[in-house]
Symmetry: C2
Amino acid sequence: MLIGLIIIGGEAIMSYKGLNLRKEVKKVIHLVLHAIALILGIIGIYAAFKYHNESAIVNLYSLHSWLGIAVISLYGIQWLYGFVIFFYPGGSTGLRSESLPWHVLFGLFVYILAVANAAIGFLEKLTFLENSGLAKYGSEALLVNFTAVITILYGAFVIFSVASQGPAEDDYSYSAI
Amino acid sequence: MLIGLIIIGGEAIMSYKGLNLRKEVKKVIHLVLHAIALILGIIGIYAAFKYHNESAIVNLYSLHSWLGIAVISLYGIQWLYGFVIFFYPGGSTGLRSESLPWHVLFGLFVYILAVANAAIGFLEKLTFLENSGLAKYGSEALLVNFTAVITILYGAFVIFSVASQGPAEDDYSYSAI
């Protein structure tokens, strides 16, 4: 779920803003990366349920699980809306331009929620381990906490990349030197 | 810490964008509300250390505590920078206009981090209680989880209010009907 929703999902967001390619090419990269992120997220959730069921742990009681279901549902809705309106078959010009800022805002909301939920997941898992005897200041605990901090910083830079000015729109991707 | 950093901090953010008052008045409201939020946050952190020390629980081992120290430090730096540059004595016009977008961006980053850390704190405390025998689907557990969900939704609406168009700048706060 970290590799999918956070890392590849973040690259999907940054690719649309940062790459200096034709709009149609960037759209394909954007939606394919998000599709990979979504599929990896779904596999991650499936694995969590499978682990719970095989270990006789109850499902869907924690905030992490609730937010995880919210993230994957909203991510899927956002992907479907983007595909239908901006890619194929594509909405009217008015609908596209009206809904683009909402696509960006809602997408950032879902991404931030995913990053926050990743941090919650790191803390939850580590708390379970520490309750089972893992040293609170041991190297494993520090590794988990620093991974969470780096995840948050990665998420912050993804957001900053969206807030920044991208390269000029260039529908032909050619410039004389 | 919820009432201070999240609720009053959120109102401080929304007040600057949403109130239809003179800029100088809005600045005072903005910085006073943020000062209250900061002070309540510091009291909350003091209370956490006091509780830990009196209960013989070690300090600063969890992600929640690390992020909490980061949030309160960044919140303080952000408040001081805003006070010195935008209020008193005030920076040059160039510095103000150059750093205003960064003030907004950094402020939103710190606020989102505070909201995320509140959610982490809810989950951490509830996990401790559940490890001590609290029912995982009991009404107390649901209450904590729903409070966390509402906190996240409140934070999201604060961010949306900043992303939206505010009322027109009006330095004289008077308009004929």
